[in-house]
């Protein structure tokens, strides 16, 4: 116990330094301090440890620091030792597992809690979140529908529903839900407002509505300057606009503190797009060093690693190895897409097509998915399907990260058609 308390004190000390800079503690930081004081006053009260665990989970989500989840797990363990089976500790346990991306375990822990207390909206949320991450969208939809039926306008349910609408391709409907949550957030909750605006921008960007996305991001950054998610999305927007130099700057700004393997990959891609080959090479190397040790971990960057090995490192075997590891864990659309892409890179086009069709069947309106599907169809000499997928990709988003490649592919098809026609005439 003392060990983890010590760790928390270190965190709080850091928090104090940071807070001194802004004169404010985040809500999670305040809750950590309150819980810690309560534990000092009454170390035998199990609820104090639950409070601490929830606060740590919140904080972990705020700062993307996995260490906080470990400390939250220790607090849960302490609570359960004082009051075995206490309900709140079991809920906190699920939140920890979700934060650690241990979705199957989270699902197994959440199900009995849901059977015990089916009126608990957050527990339905746990089920929905875990199922969503695992790619069990029907289960996620059912759980989310219960959330909305139990409490029609609850923000947590609407946000989960919005994410489900995004992945199923109902972008306008997703924006509607995001907007409903936006209307509920108190004006002083600038971080939440920025988060919602940024997700709305992401949905707009997904279909190439750059101007609308820009306005939303401007609002988000005005509300909450420096918000990392807004910066990441803005970097993608700049890339879509062809302004790779500014995209690089934005990624570098994003990575100044607590970079993630995913954000390192974003920087490397931007550098490559900007023609800074040496720096891109170094950035990809840094990404690979960060992502590779995580390959067997629940929290990983395997999707990016697959794409990296296919598009940059040209290591098809490694791409497929990583993809198979990940698809054994979950079958969300993004994992299926990466798996299909790796299979294709290894010449297994028929299986690649099957996996790609599974991903597309969900309905996600992602231009890259259709690009990948087009390439796979092309490799299978299905010209008609390839052309359909490429055109669909451009129709969805004419400024996507793959739009240039899509245009090239379409041009190649046209060139081949012309060559074929000429050859036919020559006969």
């Amino acid at each position: 116990m003392q060990a983890w308390r010590g760790s928390i004190l270190v965190i709080l000390a850091a928090a104090a330094v940071s807070s001194a800079q802004v004169g404010l503690l985040s809500p999670a930081e305040e809750k950590i301090q309150t819980a810690e004081k309560a534990i000092q006053n009454n170390p035998q009260r199990y609820q104090n440890y639950n409070d601490l665990a929830f606060a740590l989970v919140s904080w972990a989500r705020e700062i993307s620091d996995a260490k906080c989840y470990s400390q939250a797990a220790e607090a849960v363990e302490k609570s359960l030792s004082l009051a075995p089976g206490n309900f709140e500790a079991l809920k906190a346990q699920v939140e920890v597992l979700l934060g650690q991306r241990r979705w199957k375990e989270a699902l197994e822990c959440a199900r009995p809690l849901n059977q015990r207390t089916p009126d608990d909206v957050p527990i339905w949320g746990y089920l929905a979140e875990a199922a969503f991450a695992l790619g069990d969208y029907d289960e996620s939809v059912k759980a989310t529908q219960w959330m909305l039926d139990l409490r029609q306008n609850n923000a947590r349910g609407l946000l989960r529903a919005a994410e489900l609408r995004v992945v199923h391709g109902y972008l306008d409907g997703a924006l509607d839900f995001y907007n409903q949550v936006y209307q509920q957030v108190p004006p002083h909750e600038v971080a939440q407002i920025a988060s919602i605006l940024t997700h709305m921008a992401g949905a707009e960007l997904m279909r190439g509505r750059v101007e609308s996305a820009q306005k939303l991001l401007d609002q988000a950054l005005q509300q909450f300057p420096g918000y990392y998610l807004s910066i990441e999305t803005l970097a993608r927007l700049r890339a879509a606009q062809g302004n790779s130099r500014e995209a690089v700057d934005l990624w570098r700004r994003r990575n100044q503190e607590l970079p993630t393997p995913e954000s390192l990959y974003g920087l490397a891609q931007a550098l490559e797009q900007d023609g800074q080959r040496d720096q891109a090479k170094a950035a990809y190397a840094e990404f690979e060093r960060a992502a590779t040790p995580l390959v067997d971990q629940p929290a990983n960057a395997n999707r990016e690693l697959v794409l990296y090995n296919v598009t940059y490192a040209h290591n098809p075997a490694q791409a497929l190895r990583v993809a198979r590891l990940e698809v054994a864990r979950r079958h969300d659309v993004f994992t299926l897409d990466a798996y299909a892409w790796a299979l294709a890179d290894n010449g297994q086009y028929a299986e690649a097509k099957a996996q790609m069709e599974k991903a597309l069947a969900v309905g996600t309106q992602d231009a890259a998915f259709f690009y990948h599907a087009g390439v796979i169809a092309s490799k299978l000499n299905d010209r008609s399907a390839a052309e359909h997928y490429f055109k669909e990709s451009l129709d969805l988003n004419s400024v996507s990260t793959v739009s240039a490649q899509v245009r090239q592919e379409l041009q190649s098809i046209e060139t081949r058609d012309r060559s074929g026609q000429a050859a036919a005439r020559g006969k």
Partner: protein, 556 residues
């Protein structure tokens, strides 16, 4: 802003029961009693809160059948309406779909559904109140205040509600879609009773009672009425802290008190109104055979429940859904959700369907409520009251088609909470009806359906502790009979619904049953207390009786 502060929102989106009835006193009966704000979801949405469901074979003042024999079903919603609470009073919610459902093939699924939808019209938008009236001059007070409201077209009935009734009839043993028919007749809901100056409530009550609607043989009524439910609610939810009568033990009745057509404890619901939807349907329309079946027929018993529903926000547009609405609440047997279902599952229960009730069997067969009653009386009357041990299979007739309610040989069907009614049992004359229904030897009463005057609270208490059941084993070693004092004498001291004390003031003189205080014809419900003169009888107030003598209601 620090970078860590800038991380603040990082996780936000990621989080993101004839012959069949003859054996009543010796056979299992049931568990039961009212549902005012019983679940968290209806505590937040009182307009959709079903308080009670009643279903009984219709009768006249002499206890004779209607012609043709029919069943009256009453669904009450929106609890504890204070009649004085203007200026808008208590309209039905146009956003709520109110449904009465009938299972007539023992499946736990509806074979017949009656749907009610309401619409509100403002007749006098400039008027400052929903109800206003003065005098009999057709022009009112020079056009300022309308004349007393005595019909639905009176401009003083500012907030006028009309409603439609839709009937969905599902084919037997088929998955074919239902036959749907709707009323074309304009039906009006009876408003609250603001007071004798403003409204001739009795006239509207009469005008708002529609018979043979659309030539269907069905009668309907919707409106604000006196809440027919009666209970010492304050005592009940002060952890069973009932008043002490002549027995000297709280919540334990003497034989004399038990037989009294009066109360020694105050009826907490007295003087409060409720919104009621009532429908009277020929029995031939309800049974699967299309006939009035004898009580011994396996086709005579039906299951009845009510639901309230609101539009549903769907996660994915275009997703096939069984219904475009979400169920807010359901109610069949009284008090199931209040006393049986765990707090963490009350909303889930409310939003589930009866056909899926096997998932709640654990609650039904081992009610925590019974354990609580045992624990309390172990202190109040040590060693005298010990209930039968779980599993309480004696309670199954409440949730399956079993004797003593259904005839022997009736298909039991799945565990499903519905109010079961053997439509073959003839009605009991109002003057002879026993408030304890089946337990009191009255085969036409609860839990064979539920009449307005049935004392479901006392019945529930006694059935819950096995006090009326032969065969159950009570006592410390569970080897002695249960049908003994005090198990068979529990009660809250409120035996009857408090009569609307201002009836004479309101000009009502002859519509009330002498024994049960309810009316003797459809819709049987008592008039809404007037807002001006309503009386809530509280502990210590006049309005109770002791051996026939008026007393102030017990405080302790």
């Amino acid at each position: 802003m620090t970078k860590r502060r800038a991380k603040l929102a990082l996780g936000i989106m990621a989080i993101a029961a004839g012959t069949v009835i003859a054996g009543l006193m010796t056979v299992p009966s049931g568990l039961e009693a009212s549902s005012h704000r019983e679940a968290p979801i209806t505590a937040l949405d009182t307009k959709a809160d079903i308080t009670d469901i009643y279903a009984f074979r219709s009768y006249d003042a002499n206890g004779h059948d209607t012609n043709p024999p029919s069943i009256t079903i009453v669904m009450c919603v929106d609890p504890f309406l204070e009649p004085a609470n203007g200026p808008n009073w208590f309209p039905f919610d146009p956003g709520v779909l109110y449904r009465i459902l009938i299972d007539n093939n023992n499946s736990g699924l509806p074979g017949l559904i009656f749907e009610f939808r309401f619409h509100t019209t403002e007749q006098s938008p400039a008027l400052y109140t929903g109800l206003a009236g003065f005098g009999s001059n057709p022009n009112g007070t020079n056009g300022v205040v309308p004349p007393q409201i005595n019909d639905f077209s009176n401009p003083g009935l500012n907030l006028l509600q009309s409603y439609t009734v839709t009937i969905e009839q599902y084919p037997q043993n088929s998955s074919a879609p239902p036959t749907v028919s709707s009323t074309s007749q304009t039906l009006y809901a009876v408003p609250a009773n603001a007071g004798p100056r403003t409204i001739n409530y009795a006239a509207l009550y009469q005008q708002g009672t529609y018979t043979n609607v659309g030539g269907t043989g069905i009668s309907v009524f919707a409106g604000t009425v006196d809440d027919p439910f009666f209970i010492d609610l304050g005592g009940a939810f002060d952890t069973g802290n009932f008043r002490t009568g002549s027995s000297g033990v709280p919540g334990v009745m003497t034989a004399a008190e038990d037989a009294t057509n009066g109360n020694f404890a105050a009826d907490t619901v007295s003087g409060y109104a409720v919104n009621a939807i009532a429908i009277q349907v020929p029995i031939s329309m309800l049974t699967s055979t299309g006939n009035v079946e004898p009580a011994t027929s396996p086709h005579a018993t039906i299951g009845i429940w009510g639901t309230t529903n609101r539009n549903q926000v769907v996660v994915l547009p275009g997703t096939p859904v069984k219904s475009p609405t979400r169920q807010v609440q359901r109610l069949g047997n009284p008090l199931i959700n209040e006393l049986i279902i765990g707090t963490g599952a009350k909303d889930f229960w409310s939003m589930s369907t009866p056909s899926g009730d096997s998932q709640f069997a654990g609650y039904d067969l081992n009610p925590v409520f019974v354990t609580a009653v045992d624990a309390l009386y172990n202190v109040l009357l040590p060693g005298a009251l010990i209930s039968p041990p779980p599993p309480r299979t004696d309670l199954l007739p409440l949730v399956e088609y079993l004797p003593p309610i259904a005839a022997a040989g009736t298909k039991a069907g799945p565990i499903a909470d519905m109010l079961r009614l053997n439509t073959g049992v003839p009605p009991t004359a109002p003057g002879s009806a026993n408030r304890l229904g089946l337990l009191g030897g009255d085969p036409a009463g609860f839990p064979n359906g539920r009449r307005l005057a049935d004392d479901v609270v006392d019945v529930t208490l006694r059935v819950a502790v096995g006090g009326v059941l032969a065969g159950n084993k009570c006592g410390a070693s569970h080897n002695s009979a249960c049908n003994v004092f005090p198990n068979n004498a529990l009660g809250d001291g409120v035996n009857v619904n408090d009569v609307d004390l201002d009836l004479a003031t309101d000009g009502v003189t002859n519509l009330v049953e002498p024994n049960t205080h309810f009316h003797t014809s459809f819709p049987y419900l008592d008039y809404c207390p007037s807002g001006r003169n309503r009386v809530h009888i509280d502990p210590g107030d006049p309005g109770c009786t002791d051996a026939g003598s008026p007393i102030n209601c017990k405080v302790n």
